[in-house]
Symmetry: C2
Subunit: 200 residues, 2 copies
């Protein structure tokens, strides 16, 4: 399998950590994709032109990150990082919250990357930033428990959402979210692929 | 169950049609939510402040639309509009493509709603619009087959992505996508909840 991604994508990092905890890293070759390059085969593999996209042996591709992690879980036997039954839904909700935080954070980044300063909107940035702040405020009260040997996709996604704040927004959350800081330290100690996937 | 949504949300429409084809409409009360109102309980139910959000009998909430439709499928017995096994992944990919088209379309809308004309970015709008166009170009070549009695979530999502173009962008796609026009006509004829969920 070929994973089209970028070292800086928090959604790509989620897939890489999921693959690692499922023991699938050796079966995946990572090939960097430039989402801004119109000639990128990525735009054929995935018409949305988004990363991560997973290209399978038969040339077909799976996206987005949620579909990929579910596929990897299936390849690894099923029900491993995404539980079956009623336990599935709190885990999927945690992933959705972390994914939503990453989406809002990326929109904040794009405001800078895609627009000269005179056409940036402070209201739009505040609207997105408030989603991130409300998300972390809720999570600070109750960071999710996780299995240190086999963290579920909710915990993996949350770690990636926090790591992305460190990468792009100077770790602003660390001063006011002591429980989440301790949570991420614990995750980092338990999951070796966390450090190995750190963007440099 | 209470569904927080808006009549205009394509993701909310996806959930409503999923509920209808699964026979769950009578178990769901729809309560409109205003995502721009800071005092909305929605922002407590879902820290991201996004619709659709499904509030369960115990007061807990599920989001986003993908998690909700999977939960509804589970409540209806499982494997009904989201197949189990290998057949699951093409359906989830189709949903991801349609969701991505809706996301890009909503970002186009937000460019108008959130910004006075002088701070809009033609490059950003083109970047999002190109995702929609590439998506429909790929789908026009091979519109997805679906079960007329029980359409899967990929087909439901695609219908909602097309309907949103009609609602917000004057049906621009109809002239150049004859196969998709025929596909949506067929979907509309097969799925009574399509017309019932049309935004007015």
């Amino acid at each position: 399998m070929i994973l089209r991604s970028s070292p800086f994508s928090p959604f790509g990092r989620k897939v890489k950590i999921a693959a690692a905890v499922l023991g699938l890293t050796d079966r995946i070759e990572v090939v960097v994709a430039d989402t801004n390059d119109p000639s990128e085969p990525l735009r054929i593999q995935n018409p949305l032109g988004k990363i991560p996209t997973l290209v399978l042996a038969d040339g077909s591709a799976l996206y987005d990150s949620r579909v990929i992690v579910e596929y990897l879980d299936h390849v690894a036997g099923g029900g491993r990082i995404i539980p079956h039954g009623e336990a599935r839904f709190p885990v999927l909700r945690m992933q959705a919250l972390a994914d939503g935080i990453m989406d809002a954070s990326i929109l904040r980044m794009y405001e800078i990357r895609f627009r000269p300063e005179e056409i940036r909107s402070a209201d739009w940035v505040a609207y997105q930033t408030d989603k991130v702040k409300r998300g972390f405020a809720a999570l600070e009260k109750a960071p999710p428990a996780f299995d240190r040997k086999l963290p579920d996709i909710g915990a993996i996604a949350l770690a990636c959402a926090l790591g992305y704040q460190d990468l792009r927004f100077d770790g602003w959350w660390r001063a006011d979210h002591k429980n989440l800081v301790a949570w991420l330290d614990d995750f980092a100690a338990a999951v070796p692929s966390w450090d190995k996937t750190k963007p440099v």
